[in-house]
């Protein structure tokens, strides 16, 4: 990476005796959009609040634009922040909310008014300047909050689960809007979420967090296809986990429900007789034998869910259940529960979890 714009270095945070964030490291390039993804309580907010200056790191430092800001007060950091609960000032109109940061910075009123109008246009709510927050829907309030955060041209935009309080449709459209505004302005952004689909769809890179640590940092493609740890593999995307028994460690042969699978040297260190967890993404599996798939397993259809364009099928293979999706095809009726079925996949898609 070129010179990082934001650099979080060896940051640790403890509250009393409990350590909430441990040795957290992350470099963010200028204009990059990085998501923190992880389950609730894993320390995402805490890292974000340290970047914003609301919490002081117990150790480590935070550098923005080459300057150490670890000791700087929040109101001197020039970061914009958007909160889950909108946090609009209830006593101010939409226009006054957006102008808040401009006003405290001493911008002359005509300039501030122009900037507010520009912001309202950007979030596509040009008529709303005189409304009060309680008169707006959640999605509108969150867009105002975004405009308020961006109006003073912050160096860094921090969003803490900004979409969690919204309903599903708004969530999808607003995340795309946030991303396109971010791209247009080129503002370096950290976006906290516990929703993997959200993170995968809009991020340049994702930091998957667990227990106060960054388990893996990478592009959505890397995170999804080459999860570095069992946690990442499990947390990101749907994953089928099968129990396998190593039969021949040297040639990479494993048995799943007494059916042989050849893994070619990915067993790193397992001995014959060990049990392993093997993982497969649903989209890597086909029902029936497919050209290009070198491995197949036989089982029995356990569940069939018709979801419209796709049909989700669960196939039992001994004690394991494998989920896979097939496209709906009006010519072929879906398989029936209890039918014998084969599944096939490419052994290269099978991951060994550690």
């Amino acid at each position: 990476m070129a010179e990082p714009f934001l650099s979080i270095q060896h940051v640790r945070k403890s509250f009393g005796a409990t350590t909430v964030v441990e040795d957290f490291n992350l470099d963010v390039a200028p204009g990059e959009f990085v998501s923190f993804l992880g389950p609730s309580g894993c320390g995402k907010t805490t890292v974000l609040r340290m970047v914003a200056g609301f919490e002081e790191p117990s150790a480590g430092k935070i550098v923005v634009g080459g300057k150490d800001i670890t000791k700087l007060k929040p109101n001197q950091r020039n970061v914009g922040m958007v909160f889950q609960a909108y946090a609009l000032f209830p006593n101010l109109t939409v226009g006054q909310n957006i102008a808040f940061g401009l006003k405290v910075a001493g911008m002359p009123k005509p300039d501030a008014d122009r900037r507010v109008a520009e912001m309202l246009d950007m979030i596509k709510l040009p008529q709303m300047a005189d409304r009060y927050p309680y008169q707006l829907s959640g999605g509108q309030q969150q867009r105002i909050a975004l405009a308020r955060a961006i109006a003073p041209k912050p160096k860094l935009l921090l969003l803490d689960e900004p979409l969690s309080a919204l309903d599903a449709k708004v969530r999808v459209s607003l995340r795309e809007e946030i991303r396109s505004i971010q791209k247009k302005l080129g503002i370096t952004t950290i976006f906290v979420t516990h929703d993997q689909e959200e993170a995968l769809s809009i991020s340049d890179r994702i930091a998957v967090m667990y227990g106060g640590k960054a388990e893996q940092v990478g592009t959505p493609f890397e995170i999804y296809n080459r999860p570095a740890t069992k946690f990442v593999a499990n947390f990101v995307g749907t994953l089928n986990v099968l129990e396998g028994k190593v039969t021949d460690a040297a040639s990479g042969k494993v048995q799943v429900n007494a059916q042989e699978v050849s893994l070619k040297g990915k067993l790193n260190g397992s001995k014959s007789g060990d049990t392993l967890s093997l993982a497969l993404r649903p989209e890597a599996i086909s029902l029936g034998r497919q050209p290009g798939h070198d491995t197949s397993l036989s089982g029995e259809i356990a569940e069939v869910h018709f979801l419209g364009s796709v049909i989700r099928v669960r196939v039992g293979i001994g004690g394991n259940t494998v989920s896979l999706d097939t496209f709906n095809n009006s010519a072929t009726p879906p398989p029936a529960v209890g039918d014998k079925a084969d599944i096939s996949f490419s052994s290269g898609d099978m991951l060994v979890l550690h």
Binding site: A52, G53, F54, K73, P74, N75, Q76, R77, N78, V79, G80, M81, F83, A85, A87, F89, P90, N91, L92, T93, F100, G101, K103, V104, A105, Y132, P133, Y134, A145, R148, A149, P152, P154, L158
Partner: protein
């Protein structure tokens, strides 16, 4: 009675069946709240109206402004004046001190137990009025009170020689503040709790100093509840009688004591003047409330 309802039903039945269904349902709808309204009318509204009307009548029951005019005699005006002064002073002192205490316990970073202990104590002290309160202050700041004596012996400060008197405007005010502060705390703490932490953080990230945040957000947001509570405290002090009566007997001429004496013994020798005094009391507390409502609707468009 029976006749009337029957004929009503008959008429309704002939002309408009849906209306019948409505007229049948309406009474049962209202049945649930009837006892409340009967109670309110008989024991809250009518007695008050009776006095209000009486204030504008003479002995013969004719309409007159004479009673209201008579309120403006020096004696009665002085009583109103001292009542207003004590109520205003005690409600303002109580309100600001209560606000300070509330902010200290909610936002001051004090241990949690202090907050809950203060809230419980406030619940107690806001209901601690009348004779026991008066006596507590006699035991504290009376001529032989603990603080009076201690100040005299330890510091050599003789409060009473310096013009302090518990049976005076300031004495009464200090005593009233004892229930005013806790009342403020009890009412305003939920309002302060309602200030979201994120507002302060949003303001900080937008570059605001603590002072700017208070000026632009906290004070405007708290102001309506604060003003409403001040009005309530004012009314609370304005109508209070037991504390003042126990403290001063009838040596301090506040309105409720004047009215009390009038009710007991017609000291004004004019029953309708008593009504006029009652009218004046409601007029003042009512005015304070109307001011509050007006202010609130005018300036707080952001309130739902």
């Amino acid at each position: 009675m029976t006749d009337l309802s029957l004929s009503n039903k008959a008429i309704a039945g002939k002309t408009a069946p849906p209306a019948e269904a409505r007229s049948l349902r309406l009474p049962t709808q209202w049945l649930g709240v009837t006892p409340f309204f009967i109670f309110a009318v008989m024991f809250l509204i009518l007695p008050t109206l009776y006095l209000m009307l009486g204030a504008f009548q003479n002995e013969a029951g004719e309409f007159t402004f004479a009673n209201i005019v008579a309120l403006f005699s020096a004696n009665i005006v002085a009583a109103y004046w001292i009542s207003i002064k004590v109520s205003l002073a005690s409600s303002l002192i109580g309100a600001f001190a209560g606000l300070a205490v509330a902010i200290a316990i909610v936002r001051g970073g004090l241990p949690d137990w202090i907050r809950s202990a203060t809230l419980t104590f406030s619940g107690v002290a806001s209901n601690f009025a009348g004779v026991p309160l008066a006596f507590a202050f006699i035991a504290t700041l009376g001529r032989l009170g603990l603080v009076t004596v201690l100040l005299n012996t330890l510091v050599g400060l003789n409060l009473y020689a310096h013009g302090f008197n518990l049976l005076s405007f300031w004495g009464l005010t200090i005593t009233y503040v004892y229930f005013q502060i806790p009342l403020m705390v009890v009412i305003i703490v939920p309002a302060i709790d309602g200030l979201k932490r994120e507002w302060g953080e949003a303001a900080a990230t937008l570059g605001a100093t603590q002072a700017q945040y208070w000026r632009m957000v906290v004070i405007p947001v708290l102001w309506p509840s604060f003003l409403g509570t001040v009005i309530l405290l004012f009314a609370n002090a304005f109508g209070a009688i037991a504390t003042a009566y126990a403290l001063t007997g009838s040596s301090l001429n506040i309105v409720p004591i004047l009215l009390y004496a009038q009710i007991r013994g017609d000291v004004l020798h004019n029953a309708h003047l008593g009504y006029a005094i009652a009218f004046g009391m409601i007029f003042i507390t009512g005015l304070a409330n109307i001011f509050y409502i007006w202010f609130r609707t005018r300036s707080e468009r952001w309130l739902k």
